[in-house]
Symmetry: C2
Subunit: 562 residues, 2 copies
């Protein structure tokens, strides 16, 4: 169901009841871009800490607009899920002359990608639903109250008694005489109105006490409606929050960040504060990309991009879920892909979740064909959001401290800006396989395959002039003033694995060996799923030198064999 400013109010009841009755919800967002700063390989360093990644996304991704929000509600009913899909078009249309005039960035590659998918920009910009975050909502409410108080003196009535001069506060000096002259003992109702052409005028009516109260009530109702209109799409997010329902997304960190940023509050500086806000807005989250890259799915699924995942989950040992489109809702055909329409993406995300959840049921004795969203089997996946391209931290843990993997084998290397990946391979050729994660033009992390080589590498570099090597610990120390609390409340990697599923783990696939999988499994195609294809972009032509460097970097994430 397409929802724009034109049918938003009429659709709200349908939306609310769909959320209320649902077993779980799936969401997806489309944005006007991904990164306004570094290209994506710099934005997503393989050795980012969760704090660093959060800060980078907050800094470089939040000025884009989430302009399409897909919501698909799944309600289990007699052996099948009944689904209702909504495609909301979002645009911060200024609702009056004092409303915020939002500026947002568009990234050409993302816009071009969405255009190539048939995205309807006119629908967004002409008919998008407006929204306010909580602070703006409060401010607007206060504005209404202030205005009411101004025009009514005490703030309780717009009735003006003939002798109460203070009631004329809102009437311009030059009209006061006139108003006084035409006043009647019965009382007058004075109201400022606007014509269609936005010309303001004053309407004065003679009223008795009852009529006055009725008009007062009417006016307050109208104001409340205006306020609701301005809050707009945020009301849908409020309803999702209040429902406490499980919210499923695919590679959903950016979706969650954007949703909170746009409809709740400016994102907090601190990652822990962000986690707190997130738990408030989305009490239960599940990321199907994280699920698919975790045991027991990891071994069975070789491409976790949404489209590929959905295809694989139709095949054995998985089963495509039984779904029925609710009456009055348009049905999607997964054979006719409508990828990158938010509603469709939300829909197939939900399908993926069901297939994977049901697969977990096959491990039970006796096996179960249907695993509901509230099953304990699924809980291990709650509130863990997939972290793209981080080598050793698979997810952001929303409801607790993050994993803190040992990085004893990691070196921080700085060097002249002419260096390429091959120079680093040459430098470390004596130390076996290495893995390079570029930070910027003059620095990179280099992972050695064996920790005991670290000291040797450090020793040999002691007298080097063109480059400099630090251990990861030294690097962190150097940044301590930025991240003083980094070590607090963290959990050591590998101590007890990062997910403890309730089913029997497949031998030889303990959680610990997970560490390399997300990045190894990534392909150009899958990276496009969040982002209108922008992840695929190479650096710009005027960085042709860098372009070549990035091409060489393509080996990042694999243990280079030389």
């Amino acid at each position: 169901m397409e929802v724009t400013r034109q049918n938003f109010k009429d659709s709200l009841t349908t939306v609310y009841s769909a959320i209320e009755e649902a077993d779980f919800l799936a969401i997806d967002g489309e944005f006007s871009g991904i990164s306004d700063g570094p290209n994506v390989s710099a934005l997503t360093n393989g050795l980012d800490t969760p704090e660093e990644r959060y800060m980078k996304l907050k800094k470089h991704s939040m000025d884009f607009l989430l302009f399409q929000f897909g919501l698909c509600t799944f309600t289990y009913d007699e052996a099948a899920y009944v689904i209702k899909t909504f495609n909301f078009y979002i645009f911060p249309k200024p609702f009056n002359r004092t409303s915020p005039d939002i500026k947002f960035i568009c990234q050409s590659s993302s816009i071009d990608f969405l255009a190539s998918q048939g995205f309807d920009f006119n629908k967004v910009f002409r008919h998008g639903i407006p929204y306010l975050n909580q602070e703006e909502e409060v401010q607007l409410r206060e504005q209404y109250e202030e205005r009411r108080n101004q025009s009514n003196g005490s703030g309780t009535t717009s009735y003006i008694s003939p002798n109460a001069n203070k009631g004329l506060g809102g009437v311009p000096e030059e009209h006061r005489d006139y108003i006084k002259r035409v006043m009647f003992p019965k009382g007058l109702h004075v109201e400022t109105l606007e014509t269609d052409k936005k010309e303001r005028y004053i309407q004065i009516s003679k009223v008795d006490d009852e009529e006055r109260k009725r008009r007062e009530r009417q006016k307050q109702e109208r104001e409340q409606e205006e306020l609701n209109d301005a809050v707009g799409f945020s009301r849908v997010i409020h309803a999702i929050s209040k429902s406490g329902k499980l919210v499923v997304g695919h590679n959903m960190l950016l979706d969650v960040m954007h949703t909170i940023h746009q409809f709740y509050c400016v994102l907090p500086e601190d990652l822990n504060d962000f986690k707190e806000v997130t738990q408030c807005v989305f009490p239960r989250l599940l990321d199907t990309k994280l699920m698919a890259t975790t045991q027991p799915f990891k071994e069975l699924i070789n491409n976790t991009s949404l489209a590929e995942l959905q295809k694989q989950l139709k095949e054995s040992p998985f089963k495509p879920p039984k779904v029925v489109t609710a009456g009055g809702f348009p049905s999607y055909d997964t054979a006719q892909e409508q990828l990158h329409e938010a509603g469709y993406d939300a829909y197939i995300t939900g399908l993926c979740f069901i297939s994977m959840a049901n697969y977990l049921g096959t491990f039970l004795t006796p096996p179960k064909g249907h695993i509901p969203a509230r099953s304990k089997l699924i809980e291990p996946f709650f509130n863990k959001l997939f972290l793209m391209r981080i080598i050793d931290i698979p997810y952001l843990n929303i409801s607790g401290p993050d994993l803190q993997p040992k990085r004893d084998h990691v070196l921080y290397v700085t060097f002249p800006k002419e260096w390429k990946t091959s120079d680093l391979y040459q430098l470390f050729s004596a130390f076996g396989n290495i893995q390079v994660s570029w930070i910027d033009d003059t620095s990179a992390f280099v992972c050695l395959s064996q920790t005991d080589q670290v000291q040797i590498a450090m020793n040999t570099s002691r007298y080097a002039e063109s480059y400099r090597i630090q251990t990861y610990a030294e690097y962190l120390q150097g940044r301590r003033h930025v991240r003083e609390n980094q070590a607090q409340g963290s959990q050591a990697w590998g101590e007890d694995g990062w997910v403890k599923p309730h089913y029997a783990p497949v031998p030889g696939t303990a959680a610990g060996d997970y560490s390399m999988s997300p990045i190894q499994e990534e392909t150009a195609e899958e990276t496009s799923e969040t982002a209108g294809g922008a992840w695929q972009q190479q650096p710009s032509a005027n960085q042709s030198k860098k372009g070549r460097k990035v091409k060489k970097r393509k080996t990042d994430g694999e243990w280079c064999p030389f």
Copy 2:
């Protein structure tokens, strides 16, 4: 004529010949926004110097996208102008994987305004014509050359002789053996191609010398065409530049800045450098808003917004120009306004110019009905771009030093941020009429009506604690480190007037008395013309306090009588 990526190449000949044959050109741009920083009243201070205004526009307006460019060519032919109107849709679609990934800002109020005018965003984003600035064009050309050199060794041929191993530079290691094995004495043509799905593959063909040369030529032609495609819309601007034709616009400073910024080069820091670039890109400019606010038009025209101007110029003493739409071009009906479509705006800008130019002919003896674009009568208006809302500098002089009005009667006042305009009026109540130009929350310029009051005002403020007053000279001195060269090459205001028309000046309307007119004549409506209505925006709701302040500021630009 609508021109998109789809018909751009086929339309180019038509565009070029329209430019070539024209007597003059009219242009107009539509942008994705106006200011990414301060609201417009802060962006356009009434006492900005030309340098300050340029710097502000460069800083706060250039990150928007010029996404529709209107060009209307006017060719005089037997008592009527033949017109050809083009509406170019512009979008920086990345043309390959290494091309720049442009980010641009959208301002909701501007987008909403254009949406309300029926602007077709899908046409822009799906079918917009790409472009490169000169630097990007050079880089891309170098990229092609570099690639050619790489694959051909000497850069002259892709022919690989069986014994010339160095010719295999572009062939991946693992394929070299194969290539060697299948080589023939006759020679092979090796080429990297792409499928529709962007999969790369190598095509190897057996060729003789002649065929090889033919293919070489073909390849170079293809590359040249790719390059031309990438340069895209910039080619139209190059053609306009090269033609040296008079280019007419209405309130065109932003149009000129955007055009240069997007299609030529990043705008220079220094205003004089900008003037130099502008003269190179647009050797002859004429701003109809500046013309309309100058004698003899100033007295006859009370609203210089484009739409109003065009209406007034149809009436006596002006005459609507005779125009004929060229065959094959859609004709516009000025009765059915299509304002804010760039092509239409360019068209009526041209009409305004003709009416005003012809009016100048009535002052000649004998009077002349048609004044051509190359007439000396028009020269005084050349290269002077209207400066919005500057009290005493009506235009930016592109081909010479700017006016430097005396500002002896101006005070620079700093005060607590709670102050409103009324506080300033009260403070200066002893000094007659004042005029306030806000700079920011805690500072403003205050113009006294009489210069001899300045010293008295300074004296009375000596012991004030909450506020501080400086003369304009002191203020400038305080900023000298920023603007060390400000005094150089400037021209004193009023020395000989700023425009010396070749017709007899109407008595009592000497150029000197012009100084106040632009701002007095401005209305909310007219300010919208450049800018998709964004100039009309009030500050945001979360600045309600400031909003009230700004409302009070509405008296700016008038001599307040108290």
